[in-house]
Amino acid sequence: MGKILQIENVGMRFATRKGPFVALRNIDLSIEEGEFVSLIGHSGCGKSTLLNLIAGLLLPTEGIMLCAGREVAGPGPERAVVFQNHSLLPWLTCFENVYLAVERVFGRKEGKEKLKNRARAALDMVQLSHAEAKYPHEISGGMKQRVGIARALAMEPRILLLDEPFGALDALTRAYLQDELLKIVARTRSTVVMVTHDVDEAVLLSDRIAMMTNGPSAMIGEILAVDLARPRNRVELAEDKRYLHYRKEVIDFLYTRHGFVDKAA
């Protein structure tokens, strides 16, 4: 297994009205093919910024960012993003939202019927075949998030980028979708980078957790390898000693060593 993503000494500086603002500095992270990596940190530390850098929506002001050996120069369908707020187009049905992505990625090589089958298969994977003709405002928040995931999966990306995909959902729906994601990732063997602020989510899903220090000029403070066998079962893990140990590690990092600082104070 090769390295699919290499981030070397990357920094991100925003030009703001009050002068330059350094959001990230000295970020080093490399990700193996098929790995599940979480980015965790307090609000505003720069998790979304880092994910957007990987997506190519932002370009780093320092350092090198390589995807499959090539410099990241912009966004591309091989790095599909599930956005924090699903970002479905409200004037397209669920099916059409997915189809738009499918058509873009496979439209040159495949006929219409095959493309439609791909879109249907993706919706089926998140168990939303019954809602394919509905518009986003006609379905629940969890369903929208699943369509967003289906859209990303349908592109068969090399890397799946998730920005707090379940952040806005209730605990039950979140648990359900986490399990779904685990199953899908196991089936498709995708490489995943996921932003989260939920400790349990990070430990349950990840192979490694990159814990970020507080901004400004945040860094990756520590990387924790989560060595738990897959498939993982949340009920069994709830009392697993190693699970609790990993959980404690993350909590220690976030609350004891890098407690949230209110910038306004």
């Binding site: 929506l57 599909a80 956005f83 738009l100």
Partner: protein
Amino acid sequence: MSAAIIKLEPASGSVQPHSTENPSSSAGAKPMIQIDATPARVDQVSRKPATELASAWARSVLRAALPPIMGLALFIGLWALGTMGSQRIPSPAVVWQAASVIFADPFYYNGPNDQGIGWNVLSSLRRVGIGFGIAAAIGIPLGFLLGRFAVMNSMMSPVISLLRPVSPLAWLPIGLLVFKAADPAATWTIFICSVWPMIINTAVGVQRVPQDYLNVARVLNLSEWKIATKILFPAVLPYMLTGVRLSVSTAWLVIVAAEMLTGGVGIGFWVWDEWNNLKVEHIIIAIFVIGTVGLLLEQALLWIARRFQYGNT
């Protein structure tokens, strides 16, 4: 659009009780009015719920229609009161009489300078339609360009800011000069007054397209054509329709004044003509007609705009 299909049901449902008053159609309507729910009196089963529903319907209509009717009645009452001793301003009764003559034959034609009020309204609407149509054809694409490319925006915005507050009537002489005829000059003023709201609303709409949607486009690497048709156009459509509504409303205001100046056939010219003939009751009729047409235009455009509102997501 599925919303339109759903909407039809309550509409036809509310018509049902009304039509049951007509005995010939009551048979067809029976299943709609839940006969089983009131099986007490067998002989009256089909009549009673029908009339009950009808009266409930009538009551709700009354409740909705009563205040506006009262308002109109008050207005006409005050008008009658105010014109009681007056020679110059005609009373409602006089206007009503004149109106019944005018509307008996709104489409007569006695040569180009003497036509029914219907023709006058239609030719004003035609000018508004043509002027507005050209304004939309130019304003919408221009608005897209201004909204999408910041350079274009900073290039054009001083010109637009300078010209927009100018009364479109100030442009009438230019129109006369260029077109050497009254009719296209009036259309030209409509074009001028319609084009600004079209450009500005479209440009604002393009600038307000949520960054999320544009990020989706970037991640998918959509072509500029797909971005325009699948993302920009649908996102901007509500803004554009607001622009259309503002344009058409101002255009309808301006056309009356423009036609007063240019003459020919049209409701504005008609007002001026009747003033020259000292037929004040006709002027009042024209005011009502202009108001009604304006109201209908506004409502029609609001209705269209509502159809293109996407649900909250």
